[in-house]
Symmetry: C2
Subunit: 254 residues, 2 copies
């Protein structure tokens, strides 16, 4: 049986708690957070503490807390030589105070409070200073998910930047699509199936091979017509910038 | 029983043929294409013609042919006063020669030759000059799909521009994510589940409410770090442009 102390009571802490609850070989023996919040309706009150100097001994301490609190909270831990990990995509492993053995246990997905999470296919990015800790963390992650990766802090940074493009900026493309539809009283939901298909395609074909549309076809006639339809300057400007970017990529390659 | 003559032998024609084959109340009585291509392994040879002057009488003639051929092929039809529709997202209905009754039967999805298509949830955008034709086309579309919409040529133009953002430009965001990963030897597949989740979210929450990331948080520290990580000028420039666009949108609204 592996024992865990979980710190934090936000989205990630709550989802991790629920996931570990289903694992027989793992027990979250204690939770710390400043407000004494229960992470789950089945959690017993005596497993919650608001006193960081009162933590039990465990195999691993998981800091599922805000990025900028990792350094401070890890420094406040009242013990040494134990395995302490954070769950962040962007905080370096070294931010964990070096009196303990640092590691990272990063589930690469967006979590929100309301939505249930199936960890099974969520990629876990694992890092640890000591090889034995890495082995332990990968075993722990593999109890929750089929997808477990050795990822260094540098690689995690790369993934984080790439995630800004495929998640944040993509969502922004959906926002513009929605705006264009709303401004013209066309239901955006007509585009929902196309959006799902666009995302699904990456499982079958590399995105640069899946590129379609007027930009990659160099279809100036359609591009001009689209620029004529767009009335919002920002939308127009982004259409031009992204069209040029696609053309410069495929123009060179063709 | 409704009778259809299908013109063209590309992606759309082939998928439509297969879909109509499963419908008892609809029959594709003849197919025309220049090369005499069979649209389906079960198609009988005597239902294929390469002679456009030899078309049978049918309830509707569906031109599933290249955008720029719609006008010409519709003018070459050897009859008048019949319902003739195209399947394009961007060609105006009026491009169909006015000796016949024009209409549009546009399935809003990306089709490729290899991939099987389930039409059931594909939105059909219907337009017709005559009300009776619109009713007929909507009934026909509803045999294939639950999602049938009355969409004017102007609205179809709007959808087409919006689709460039949510499909073409989104795919380009995936391409950049992939490039960043490849350049740094991190497997892009780690980001696949995040991409699926990003797309799925639009079913639950409007995209402008789902926006996350350093841009909308005004997290200058992370933005600077990301710009430092990106080595490719085009990637850097797009990161800056999209970050500013998001900030200007949410800066104003907050
Ligand atoms: N949400 C996601 O989609 C996601 C995905 C993967 C990884 N992560 C990472 O997981 C970590 C947690 O994220 P989250 O989304 O769960 O955040 P969250 O919902 O905002 O929760 C943050 C938690 O950190 C605690 N905290 C903040 N400052 C603290 C301090 N000085 N001392 C003690 N506790 C403190 C907060 O406690 P109080 O309520 O007392 O302030 C709260 O319980 C972050 O590193 C994040 O980058 C998040
Ligand atoms: N693919 C999609 O994702 C998609 C989705 C929705 C709507 N659409 C629309 O559906 C229509 C067909 O698209 P597609 O993807 O099926 O195209 P495609 O695979 O490129 O096939 C085009 C067909 O048009 C025929 N054609 C072209 N010029 C012709 C001419 N002058 N006379 C007779 N036939 C001619 C071609 O015949 P030859 O082989 O003899 O040249 C071919 O059979 C287009 O309007 C397109 O915008 C496409």
């Amino acid at each position: 049986m592996n024992s865990i102390v979980l710190l934090g009571a936000g989205n990630v802490a709550q989802h991790l708690y629920a996931a570990f609850l289903n694992q027989k070989s793992v027990e979250v023996i204690q939770c710390y957070n400043r407000k004494g919040i229960k992470l789950h309706k089945d959690q017993k009150a005596d497993t919650i503490t608001t006193d960081i100097t009162n933590l039990k001994e465990a195999d691993v301490y998981i800091l599922a807390i805000s990025d900028d609190a990792v350094e401070k909270v890890s420094s406040a831990l009242p013990f040494m030589d134990r395995l302490v990990v954070h769950t962040s995509g962007s905080v370096p492993m070294k931010s964990i105070d070096n009196r303990n053995h640092p590691g990272v246990f990063y589930p690469l997905q967006t979590f929100s409070a309301t939505k249930k999470v199936d960890f099974n296919k969520i990629p876990f990015c694992i890092e640890a200073e000591r090889e034995t800790d890495a082995v332990f963390l990968k075993k722990l992650a593999s109890r929750l998910s089929q997808k477990v990766y050795d990822i260094s802090s540098d690689q995690r940074n790369i993934l984080h930047v790439a995630a800004v493009f495929v998640n944040n900026f993509t969502n922004y493309m959906f926002t513009i699509g929605n705006e264009i539809c709303e401004e013209n009283k066309v239901p955006f939901e007509i585009l929902h199936p196309l959006i799902q298909e666009t995302a699904k395609k990456i499982h079958e074909i590399e995105p640069d091979k899946a590129q379609t549309g007027p930009a990659v076809r160099n279809d100036f006639h359609t591009i001009e017509r689209h620029l004529g339809i767009l009335t919002n300057d920002l939308q127009k400007q982004l259409y031009e910038t992204l069209t040029k970017a696609i053309q410069s990529k495929y123009g060179k390659e063709l």
